[in-house]
């Protein structure tokens, strides 16, 4: 199943904590993370990759980014 994480407007390192917490849940196969800064986009992408995930898509959405992560 796909889980949505809305981390828009949150300071470092909240977006990464939220994304990694969701990745740890076994039933999540795909994760969509919404962020509002380029720093958060990079941090979430880097952290997800380091945990064995694969960033399959990053698109601009509403002045921020929508990051899709597939668990490995």
């Amino acid at each position: 199943m796909t889980t949505m994480v809305d981390a828009r407007g949150l300071s470092c390192p909240q977006p990464v904590i939220m994304a990694l917490d969701e990745m740890k849940k076994e039933d999540n196969r795909e994760l969509v993370v919404l962020v509002d800064t380029d720093t958060s986009k990079e941090n979430v992408s880097r952290a997800a990759t380091s945990q064995g995930g694969q960033v399959s898509e990053v698109s601009e959405e509403g002045g921020g980014y929508r990051i899709t992560v597939r668990k490995g």
Partner: protein, 363 residues
């Protein structure tokens, strides 16, 4: 999938750390205080002195490096289309965190940037400070794991994001139209130092140019000294840490080349060796930076890219410097100030209460 931002790669952050370390060591050679090529806390304290918010005569100079940090980040953010004006994540709390971060840093006599540069210059007391910094950040990570956050910021008017860069432009204008009269401690608008660290500075144009350059590099790379330690403790991530270590290593090598490396614990420039208070001061600073989500440099770079909450943190630091010197909270090379211990105790209590009480708001 992190785009084309080469500065945000592993080698990018290592390169930026190296550039900062080398440039900071050269700033010392060109006139900045010893082991203080760049100290964000000290330089904001000097700005507070230049504006008359405190009257410690030896630390009064409107440091162009700080102006450059914000304006460099502002330019870089616009060029990269990353300027995002935003505010509203508990600004009053960020102001208080900024003030206590400054007070803690001035008990140690330096922010994380200077702790690194003191170590690179051979000051062993910096190890104690860095240990305290790490301990404070570790306490912060415990709160983060329990759901601590200051709530969401909101997008706002472009002009809001321009306020801090414009304040810095105003500071620069004051410096240019109101330079230090020869041998005098006051120009029409600004206070200056005749001796002490405030009187030690590289030429204005060089300080400003290096500040602008570092502002650009740091905005692109997201360089953060607190984040370096926090991400290591919290996630085992060493990305930012590699930049911080690079800064220390390259500052050390440059100091060796320039004859600026003098190892020891006693008689170090603008430092004291009261270990307990070096540790405790930096514990307070580290906790405050962790709760605010960035080191003092990072707060300047965030302010430059439109983050109004980071700008409030910066103003908190400048006002905190006023408190620190007006009320005997700041240390000197002779040791801690008469009320330094009380200030650290109050600051830690306030930061712990903030960490304990502000959880999962709107998250």
């Amino acid at each position: 999938m992190t785009g084309k931002n080469i500065f945000a790669t592993r080698w990018g952050i290592i390169g930026v750390g190296a550039a900062i370390g080398i440039l900071a060591a050269f700033l010392q050679k060109l006139g900045n205080p010893a082991n203080m090529g760049i100290c964000v806390a000290c330089f904001e304290r000097d700005i507070a002195g230049a504006l008359g918010l405190h009257r410690a005569e030896v630390v009064q100079y409107l440091r162009p490096e700080i102006v450059g940090f914000v304006l460099g980040s502002f330019v870089a953010a616009y060029l990269a289309r990353e300027f995002r004006p935003r505010v509203g994540s508990a600004p009053i709390v960020r102001f208080v965190l900024g003030a206590f971060a400054m007070i803690g840093a001035l008990v140690f006599l330096g922010c994380p940037w200077r702790a690194a540069l003191r170590l690179a210059g051979g000051d062993g007391n910096a190890l104690v400070g860095l240990a305290g910094l790490t301990f404070g950040i570790w306490i912060g990570t415990l709160f983060l794991k329990k759901g601590y956050n200051l709530g969401r910021s909101q997008a706002t008017h472009t002009a809001v994001g321009w306020v801090m860069p414009l304040i810095m432009l105003g500071f620069l204008a004051l410096l240019l139209i109101s330079p230090q009269p020869e041998g005098q401690a006051k120009s029409e608008f600004l206070f200056y130092s005749l001796k002490g660290p405030g009187a030690a500075h590289a030429p204005l144009a060089i300080s400003l140019a290096i500040g602008l350059g570092i502002g650009i590099l740091a905005q692109r790379s997201r360089f953060c000294t607190m984040g370096a330690i926090r991400d290591g403790l919290l996630f085992g991530h060493v990305h930012l840490l590699s930049g911080f270590i690079s800064l220390i290593l390259f500052a050390f090598l440059t100091n060796l080349l320039l004859g600026q490396f003098h190892p020891g614990f006693t008689g170090q420039p603008i430092a004291h060796d009261q270990h307990v208070w070096n540790f405790a001061g930096m514990t307070l600073a580290g906790l405050a930076f962790a709760l605010a989500g960035g080191c003092p440099g990072r707060q300047l770079f965030l302010a430059g890219e439109g983050d109004g909450d980071a700008a409030v943190f910066v103003l908190g630091m400048i006002v905190g410097a006023g408190f620190a010197h007006n009320f005997g909270l700041a240390s000197s090379p002779n040791g801690i100030g008469p009320h330094g211990m009380a200030a650290v105790a109050v600051g830690l209590t306030v930061c712990l209460l903030i960490g304990l009480t502000m959880r999962n708001k709107n998250a």
